[in-house]
């Protein structure tokens, strides 16, 4: 059963002047159809202004569709009664770690979600402990979030969502403000949540390396889904990606260039360095 499903989802940003007349309409999403199964790891790629963040906000019922609908676990986001339920089922992690941490101590922040859900106090502590241990932040529970590194802050933010026991976590460019080490930490945490806890992950990003591990990739441009498939399928279409001003992982790029210069036996859609090395070795031992 699909955990998240959108059907012909369109959304307009409407700008009004002082008298309240509509001065401009900006279509951010245009007839987006998307379906995510339970337990999947989905990546949504796209450049700036491609509508990927707008899409994410629809899944968490922060924005409501202008046309079409969004279903989270079979419930429509546009209906008021479903909102709290949907926000618990589909948690969201934002880009800026500083602006989403509410508590002044790590454990208090992780407890914020469960507190809002009305969980009894003892159970909140259990959830906080569990969430912090999953994210490897248990030893920092008494720290002030101010003193943590970017990657650690973002893991605290993820723990805050995990403590709500969601079925799905939407991560809206969680690594955009982090250094490479922090980025690695966060992606590793996301993969572990997907592998071990079977939580559906929807990762929105513009770093291609992070997409490699996804089950499915959606590429967005101008508010529409332009491509969709496994990472291998997507990255074998290097020219199309380039037209959308999107990069491909370095290994993929190198394989593509080698192929263009005559190494035609190389397969399409090589994703990692390791794969490239094995493929090249295989080729040369044959030759």
């Amino acid at each position: 059963m699909a955990i998240v499903e959108t059907c012909k989802l369109s959304f307009d940003y409407i700008r009004r002047d002082e008298e309240g007349n509509v001065s401009s309409i900006n279509r951010a999403l245009n007839r987006v159809d998307l379906s995510v199964e339970k337990g999947e790891f989905i990546a949504i790629l796209g450049g700036n202004g491609s509508g990927k963040s707008t899409l994410a906000k629809h899944i968490n019922a922060i924005l409501y569709p202008t046309e079409g609908y969004v279903l989270v676990d079979g419930k429509k986001t546009s209906e008021e009664i479903n909102i709290l339920d949907i926000r618990q089922k589909a948690g969201m992690v934002f880009q800026n770690p500083d602006n989403q941490i509410i508590g002044s101590v790590v454990e208090e922040d992780v407890g914020f979600g469960p507190e809002n859900m009305g969980i009894p106090s003892e159970n909140i502590w259990e959830r906080v402990e569990e969430a912090l241990k999953i994210l490897g932040m248990w030893e920092y529970r008494k720290h002030s979030p101010m003193r943590l590194s970017g990657g650690q802050k973002q893991r605290v933010a993820i723990a805050g969502v995990v403590a709500m026991h969601p079925e799905c976590i939407i991560m809206d460019e969680p690594t955009a403000m982090l250094d490479p080490a922090g980025r690695k930490d966060v992606i590793r945490a996301a993969r572990a949540l997907n592998d071990v806890e079977r939580i559906t992950i929807i990762l929105i990003t513009h770093y291609m390396e992070e997409v490699v591990y996804a089950n499915k990739v959606f590429v967005m441009e101008g508010g529409e889904i332009k491509m969709f498939g496994t990472p291998r399928e997507i990255f074998s279409r290097v020219e199309e990606l380039e037209k959308m001003r999107l990069d491909v992982p370095q290994a993929t790029r190198l394989a593509y260039e080698l192929k263009r210069r005559g190494l035609s036996q190389l397969p399409d859609g090589i994703l990692t360095e390791k794969e490239l090395v094995t493929e090249l070795c295989r080729l040369y031992s044959i030759i």
Partner: protein, 268 residues
Amino acid sequence: MLREMTLGQYYQVESRLHRLDPRVKLMGTLVFIISLFVSQKAVCYAVATVFLICMIKLSKVPFGYMVRGMRAIVMIMMITVVFNLFLSPGEALVTFWAFTITKEGLRNAVFTAIRLTYLILGSSLMTLTTTPNDLTDGMEKGLGFLKIFKLPVHEIAMMMSIALRFIPILLEETDKIMKAQQARGADFESGGLIRRARAMVPLLVPLFVSAFRRANDLALAMEARCYHGGEGRTKMKPLKYKAWDVRAYVILFCYLALVVLTAIVSPV
């Protein structure tokens, strides 16, 4: 400058006072302030002094650290003392030129000085021994009865705790903007007070813009985590009175009774 102020800051140390329920401490501060205004006689102040010294000893906060917070209010204190000293009518003690110091004036000046000092010491004792979060929790629970009058107690407490969390972030931001502007030739250090104040104006605009942006982001993040006001919300650390809290209430009550009694009975 803001970093040096000890007024309203938390001092981390293990003590009986630190462990008290924040509601008791809020109540205690209120009782102490009331007792200061009830006091009209020297004996009352003696009682208050003993009480305050005992509490400071109990809190294990170094006295010097507390006094440092007082420097900010020295000016205000001087002004009130001078006004009281010269402007109270009554039996003249000393007269020179246009000024007269009266017996009542002297008495008022001394009492006002003591009152103000104790007021600050008493309330900073509360903030020094209570974390901001405990404080807002205590206010939310302790003032919960005001909800009958449609006062949004939970919302106010939530706003306070968020504001407290964002103070260091905004300070850091101010520092960043200042450095960015200095790198482009802005001058915050030279010139008189007015010139320096004027140099701060271009600092405020970007600071406000970023504060609003942060507020917007934070509101989104809170909503995304199911925040929907205080209704149906549970607490991670619910406040519960313990044996020592009850004892503290009894001590407070005894103290207030003693002050009121001495105020009525004592001749001086």
